[in-house]
Symmetry: C2
C-alpha cells in the first residue's frame, strides 16, 4: 500500500463534519478505491470546544487556517470556510504557495478569482478541485471536464439554486405568494435569514460562471453574468405558465451565440415536457448539450452536508489516485478571455403580462407598440373582465431580440391604460 | 507537448466511424484537454473498400484485428467488433498480452468475461475502459467509479434499453399493442430485425451486470441476473398503470438486500412522480443511490454513433491524461464473489391482472388464495361487466415475498373462472 494521503480541513460546519465522517466511516472502501488510505491530520475551525459528534483529539488543531495551509503535515487542504475574499483566499494562496493541493466548496471565491487561482495552482503543479462548489451532490464538474470531454459543448443550463426551486415549486403547488412561501422556507431551513444571495440569483450566477469556463474554455467572468432573481414572480404568472404549457424555474444558462457567450440567471418559462420541468423542491438539475452527445441531464441534491461532502471526498479520491485534469478543462494559461454577448442581443420568445384597464383599444395600443418594434405575437389571453379593477392581459411572442422587447415594454409601460410595470419572463427553447 | 497517444480501431461501424470523426474534428480541443494529441494510426474492419466518409489511407490497415491488437503501432486498441466471445475476446487478449490499453463498447463480452479480463489488464498494468458499454452517452461508469466514490451505494437502477423504452412509450401514447409497435420500431431502425436481444431483456441484463460490479465491488455474475422482457405487456396493463399512478418501464435493478445482491431486469410499474417515469422514447436513465448522496439521476442517449463515440473518446482522454481507476472501482483482485439474492426472496408490491368470468364468487376465490399465502391486498379494480366475455380484474398488493405471490398465482391460474394465465408486474418502491 502506498503512503496515505494526508488531509487538513479548514472549516467544520456541516460539510466539514460530513467530510470527516465519510473519510472515517468508509476508510476501508476508500483505501481500496484510492489505492492508499485517506488520513485527516489537521483541523482548523472557529471553536475548538464545540461538540461536532467527532472526537478531534487525533488531529493537529490550528486556530489559524492560513497557518494550517502553510505548515500542517498535509498533502491537501480542504477549504470550507467560504467567502469570496478574506481568509478563504489566503488559505488558497498559502496552500498553493506550499505546494499543497486544494479542495473547496467555495463557488464565490472561484467565481471572482478562479482563473488566477487555477493559473497559480497549475504553475505550482497542484490540483485545485471544486466538485462541491457547483450543485453539491451532482458530479457535474467531472461530467463536463471528463465524461463529455469528446464534445464541443454548445449550451449548459440548469436549476442551480435549491432555495429558489423550493419556493417556485411551493408557489405552484399551493398558489401562495412569494413572500409567504419565502417565510415558510426560512422556517424550514431552506432559505437563509438574509435570503438575497439565493433569491436574487447571485448564488446561481457564481455557479454558472464556473460552468461556463469549463464548458467553453474561457476565463471566468462573473461580472458578465446577467443576474435576475425571483422576487417578482407572482402566483398569477405561475398560473398562466401552467395554462400555456410551461413551468417557471430560476434557470442559469451558459450558451455560445453568434454574438459571444451568454451567461444569464433569471426566471424562465420552461416547456412542461422538458426533463428539468419535473425537477421540484430543493433538487438541482443540469443539462449539457454537446455536438457528439446531444444532451445529457443530471439531477440530484444541490446542497446539504452529505451530498456536498460526497463531492469533497470524490475530489480527494482523484487526488489520492493521482488523476489530474486541468482546472477548467483546458490548461489555465490557454483559457481565452470571455467575449460576452450583451443581454440586449438575446434572442428568444417572451411572456409578457400587463395589468390593464378593461376597455376597448388597449390591446390595439399594446399590439401597435410591439409591431413597431417588429415583435411578432404568438398568443394573447385576456380572460378576466372588470369594470373597475385592472385585468391581466398575457402575451407570448415569437423569437425576438431582447432590445426590441425592452423598447416595446418601455412604451407599453407608459400607456395610460396600463396600470403597473409590465412583467416579462423569458421563454426557453429547450 | 508530450508524445501523441496512438490509437488502433477495430471495427468501423457507426461507433468506429464516429470515434474517428471526433478525433479528427476536435483534434485541437482534445490536444488541450489531453495535454497531448490523439492520433489514430491503424484500422481494422471487414471491408476495406466500403465508403465510410473518411479517407483511410493515412492509417495502417489490418485485415485481422487480432494481428492489429498484437502488432500495430498503437498504445490503445479500441474494440468495436462486439460479441461475447470469438474475435472480440481474442482482440482483448492480444492487446493486453502486448501491454496495450483497451477501450470497448462491448457489454456482452464484459458481462461474460469482465472479471477475468479486468484481472488480466490490471496485472499487465493497462487500462480496460468501457464507458461506451453502458448507456452510450451517459457517463455513468465515471459517475459511479469516481464522482460517487465517497458513497457506499445501496441501489442502482434504470432504463438501460432504448428499444424497449421506445416501444413502451409508443404503446402508452397510442394504445396500440406490442407487436404493432415493435414492427414500427423495426421500420424506424429502433429495433433489430431479430429483436429478442433487446426486448427479452438480455441487453439490459448485460449492462446491469457490469454496473453491479462497479457499485458493490463484486465479481461480474451475469448468470445471476433475473431476466424478463416486455413481450407480455399489454395495452390493458399500460392503461391500468396510468389509472393506478404508474408507468411501465423495463427496469434493470441492482440492489443490496439482506439475502444478497439482487440483479433483475423486468417490466416494472414505476410511480408516475419518479424522475425516470418521464424518460420517454429511446432515452436511457440511471439512478444511483448512496449513503452520502441520497440519489443522483442521469438521463441521456443510450445508443447511437455520436453518443457512444463520445464515450469511447472520453475513455481515450482518460488514458491520454494518465488517469487510472480500477476497472470495477476497486482492484479486480479484491472483487468479492457475488452472493445473489434469489428472485423468490424478492420483497415488494405487485400488480396482478386476471381475465375472469364475470360471476359472483370469483373475487372471493382469488382473495382467498392470496390470503392463504399471507399476501395483503392494497387495491382491487373490476370495471368492465360482461355476461359472455372474460373481464379484467386488477389487484395490487402490499409488500409481499415473491415466492408467496408465485404460489398464489399458481393456485389462481388454476381456478376454473380464470381464463388466462395471470399477468404479474412488479411495483417498484422508488
Amino acid at each position: 500500500m502506498n503512503q496515505p494521503l494526508k488531509i487538513a480541513i479548514a472549516g467544520l460546519g456541516t460539510v466539514g463534519a460530513g467530510t470527516l465522517g465519510i473519510v472515517q466511516r468508509h476508510s476501508n472502501l476508500l483505501a481500496q478505491r484510492c489505492g492508499r488510505s485517506l488520513q485527516v491530520t489537521a483541523i482548523s475551525a472557529r471553536d475548538r470546544n464545540k461538540d461536532r459528534g467527532h472526537p478531534l483529539d487525533a488531529f493537529e488543531w490550528f486556530d489559524d487556517p492560513v497557518e494550517m495551509a502553510r505548515s500542517a503535515d498535509a498533502d491537501v487542504i480542504v477549504e470550507l470556510i467560504g467567502g469570496e475574499d478574506g481568509v478563504a483566499k489566503s488559505v488558497f494562496e498559502a496552500a498553493i504557495g506550499a505546494s499543497r493541493h486544494v479542495v473547496t466548496a467555495n463557488k464565490a471565491l472561484l467565481a471572482h478569482h478562479g482563473t488566477a487561482l487555477a493559473k497559480a495552482a497549475e504553475a505550482a503543479g497542484v490540483t485545485l478541485a471544486y466538485e462541491a462548489a457547483v450543485a453539491g451532490g451532482i458530479p457535474i464538474v467531472k461530467s463536463l471536464r471528463e465524461g463529455l470531454a469528446a464534445n464541443s459543448l454548445t449550451r449548459v443550463y440548469g436549476i442551480l439554486n435549491g432555495t429558489c426551486n423550493y419556493i417556485l415549486t411551493a408557489m405552484r403547488k399551493t398558489g401562495r405568494p412569494f413572500d409567504d412561501v419565502l417565510r415558510e422556507a426560512q422556517d424550514l431551513g431552506y432559505a437563509e435569514a438574509d435570503p438575497s444571495f439565493d433569491i436574487d440569483g447571485v448564488d446561481a450566477a457564481h455557479k454558472i460562471a464556473i460552468l461556463t469556463s469549463i464548458a467553453f474554455g474561457t476565463e471566468i467572468d462573473f461580472g458578465a453574468v446577467h443576474v435576475e432573481g425571483i422576487r417578482q414572480v407572482s402566483p398569477l404568472d405561475i398560473e398562466y405558465a401552467e395554462e400555456l404549457g410551461y413551468r417557471i424555474k430560476l434557470l442559469a444558462t451558459a450558451r455560445r451565440t453568434a454574438h459571444g457567450i451568454e451567461q444569464r440567471v433569471h426566471a424562465s418559462m420552461v416547456p412542461n415536457t422538458a426533463p428539468i420541468a419535473f425537477v421540484d423542491g430543493v433538487t438541482n438539475a443540469i443539462v449539457a448539450e454537446g455536438d457528439a452527445i446531444g444532451s445529457a441531464v443530471h439531477v440530484g441534491p444541490g446542497a446539504g452536508g452529505g451530498p456536498t461532502a460526497s463531492a469533497v471526498v470524490a475530489d480527494l479520491v482523484d487526488i489520492a489516485r493521482g488523476r489530474v485534469t486541468p482546472t477548467f478543462s483546458v490548461p489555465a494559461n490557454v483559457l481565452e478571455p470571455l467575449v460576452p454577448a450583451a443581454m440586449e442581443q438575446h434572442s428568444g420568445s417572451y411572456y409578457i403580462r400587463l395589468m390593464v384597464d378593461d376597455k376597448p383599444g388597449v390591446v390595439a395600443d399594446v399590439a401597435a407598440a410591439l409591431r413597431d418594434e417588429e415583435v411578432s405575437l404568438e398568443s394573447m389571453l385576456q380572460r378576466a373582465r372588470s369594470t373597475d379593477e385592472a385585468v391581466p392581459v398575457v402575451l407570448t411572442t415569437h423569437t425576438s431580440e431582447e432590445a426590441a422587447i425592452r423598447r416595446a415594454l418601455q412604451r407599453i409601460g407608459g400607456l395610460s391604460s396600463v396600470r403597473e410595470a409590465p412583467c416579462m419572463i423569458r421563454i426557453e427553447d429547450l
